[in-house]
């Protein structure tokens, strides 16, 4: 079992309370940063760690922080993106409900580094019970002098608030999140200006995922160089993967980046193999928006090597033979899974969640859902398959925010790797439309 930096104490009884969390080394990073480091030194450690955004995009966190505009006299903000809503991804909910103080500690240390005096945790509205847990933990942090005025006598002030969303996947996009935090519909903003220049209330703002902010704690405690020793190449440190679908042991696993995908799926230490003794058919490795891969391609890279759980290895071969690490939402599908039905389900999700601001996304997501619905229900035509690819291509790159790509990629990848199965849904429409029908053939390997 590799090292655990975030979840080491997750099962300790009472770890959600300040007292127990503190006993297990909690809030050391705040003491170290505020008493012995300048804000720039904290940023430097995060840069050295090689930490990449854990919300899905994988952008280097330290670099993102260094883009923050710092004009005199204008407040700036840190906003935690806790609007986890991507199908397959459920790590942040777990982390926040079990270890609320870890996120709060990360928020304090990170806010200090960025010079923010008011920070927000934007949490998805469905998780109101987690909001209560966080609010209780925040009040404990205030009571113990880790939030508020003159924290630990350092002269640094910070207020931290939790803000609930209202049920909209699009609010996970950082500019939509800021709109929502300002009390508006969650329509993404045109960029530039980027939030680092004009974010919340048009002030310089950094938006980071829950797990990224939590990772700042061990980075400051042990130093960026120590963190960078874990992992492989540019994929440093540990990462939470949320595994679901047809696995024997679905759940949340913190792994050191670099574990082979095959080991992650089959070893007892992790997911324990495919349920009911069945064969693996396909995997969506990083949340529903990343391209699906058939078994053979998820286990081996384009070069024929074992695929590893790293940003680079998972994307090896581009979208033809690779996928993305994304948010770490790992969805495994067994041999009885209908790929057309599954693709339709994801398409329905993106159609439902499109904010409707851009025509290609608003119209395109609905169009793809409609075509997939008729293929799945036995009314499809052969031309529909190319139509799907064509619509996906027309959405890609033509929208204000990446929801367009998130909707297009899964459809394009499903057709690329499982075209035979889509064709079977046309040639054997009646048979394929039956509930539980399974395509008898194999995936097309690109």
């Amino acid at each position: 079992m590799g090292r655990k930096l975030l979840t080491e104490h997750i099962n300790v009884e009472g770890i959600d309370t300040f007292e127990v969390y503190r006993k297990h080394g909690g809030y050391r990073s705040v003491e170290k940063a505020l008493k012995t480091m300048t804000p720039d030194e904290v940023v430097e450690e995060v840069k050295k760690s090689g930490l990449r955004g854990r919300g899905g995009a994988g952008f280097p966190t330290g670099m993102k922080w260094s883009f923050l505009a710092k004009p005199e006299g204008i407040p700036r903000h840190l906003v935690c993106n806790a609007d986890e809503s991507e199908p397959g991804t459920f790590k942040d909910r777990h982390l926040m409900s079990k270890l609320p103080h870890l996120l709060i500690e990360g928020m304090i240390t990170s806010s200090y580094a960025l010079g923010a005096n008011t920070s927000y945790i934007y949490i998805r509205g469905e998780l109101l019970y987690v909001l209560r847990i966080l609010e209780k933990a925040i009040s404990e942090a205030y009571a113990n002098g880790f939030l508020g005025k003159n924290i630990l006598g350092s002269g640094y002030d910070l207020d931290l608030h939790v803000h609930p969303g209202g049920g909209a996947y699009i609010c996970g996009e950082e500019t939509a999140l800021l709109e929502s935090l300002e009390g508006k519909r969650g329509n993404p903003r045109n960029k530039p200006p980027f939030p680092a220049v004009q974010g919340l209330y048009a002030r310089p703002t950094v938006v980071n995922n829950v797990e990224s902010i939590a990772a700042v704690v061990p980075i400051i405690n042990d130093g960026g160089d120590e963190y960078a020793k874990l992992g492989v190449g540019k994929s440093t440190g540990t990462k939470l993967f949320s595994a679901c679908g047809h696995l024997n042991k679905p759940g949340i696993y913190e792994i050191e980046l670099g574990v082979p995908v095959e080991e992650f799926i089959y070893s007892d230490e992790y997911c324990g193999g495919i349920w009911k003794g069945r064969e693996l058919k396909a995997v969506v490795a990083g949340g529903s928006s990343v391209p699906i891969l058939p078994k053979e391609l998820i286990l081996k890279t384009a070069a024929g090597e074992n695929r590893l759980m790293t940003y680079e290895s998972l994307s090896d071969g581009g979208f033809v033979t690779g996928t993305m690490l994304g948010s770490g939402g790992f969805i495994a599908m067994d041999e009885t899974t209908c790929i057309v039905r599954n693709t339709w389900s994801f398409s329905r999700f993106y159609h439902h969640e499109s904010c409707g601001q851009c025509s290609p996304c608003r119209e395109g997501t609905g169009w793809m859902e409609k075509v997939l619905h008729r293929l799945e229900h036995g009314h499809g035509h052969m031309e529909d398959i190319d139509l799907l690819v064509s619509v996906a291509k027309q959405i890609e790159g033509n929208t204000i925010c990446p929801l367009g790509e998130a909707a297009a990629w899964p459809v394009a990848a499903a057709v690329r790797h499982f075209r035979d199965e889509f064709e079977w849904h046309v040639t054997h429409a009646k048979e394929a439309a039956r509930p539980g029908a399974v395509y008898p053939g194999k995936a097309v390997l690109a």
């Binding site: 809503s85 199908p87 019970y129 209202g166 909209a168 519909r185 679905p250 529903s288 994801f346």
Partner: protein, 185 residues
């Protein structure tokens, strides 16, 4: 003269008003609108699980907004119910990972057991409203139903489904809201 049969204008309870005051302090003074989503959540919990036009107007007055600013937000986010609901709103996750673990069967089962159809319909006894929702971020414990702030997980066995419905049927009083609990302490 005022018509005597006019419906009473909704008013927030004292505890909810205190909670709203606390929330407003989280944002800059000239950015009161930021409190809109949290206040809509409070309003929905206070007034029977949905936000009627009258309640939306009350929210607008509370935050010094125009009613249209509340309407356009309430209609954008899926958590706000715009028509009356039953005592318990069952939000059934139907997205990919839940579907892989049997959410279609769960939906059909719940429709049979409650007598309501998904899509916001309420059962004849007024107890259950069934809604299909997209991902609830609990995919590893699928299939899932959320009822207010509680998650019911691994509903792939009849026993688990029955246990959930029994628990909800036996819930005589509505759960105490967090700000009410604060006021009691």
């Amino acid at each position: 003269m005022e018509p005597t049969n006019a419906p009473a204008k909704p008013q927030f309870s004292a505890a909810a008003q205190d909670e709203i005051k606390r929330i407003i302090t989280h944002y800059p003074e000239d950015r009161k609108k930021s409190a809109l989503l949290p206040v809509l959540h409070i309003a929905q919990a206070e007034f029977g699980g949905w936000v009627s036009p009258e309640v939306q107007t009350l929210v607008a007055e509370t935050l010094d907004l125009k009613p249209i600013e509340v309407y356009e937000v309430a209609t954008f986010y899926t958590m706000f119910n715009l028509k009356p609901v039953g005592k318990h709103v069952l939000e059934i996750c139907r997205t990919g990972p839940c579907m892989l673990r049997g959410s279609d069967e769960l939906t059909a089962h719940l429709e049979r057991l409650t007598g309501a159809k998904v899509g916001g319909e309420t059962s004849p006894d007024g107890l259950f409203t069934l809604k299909e929702v997209e991902c609830l971020a609990a995919c590893g414990f699928a299939p899932i139903v959320q009822v207010r702030e509680k998650y019911y997980e691994q509903l792939d066995t009849p026993e688990n489904v029955d246990a959930m419905l029994t628990e909800l049927r036996n819930m005589v009083h509505r759960p105490i809201l967090p700000w009410e609990a604060l006021a009691q302490n």
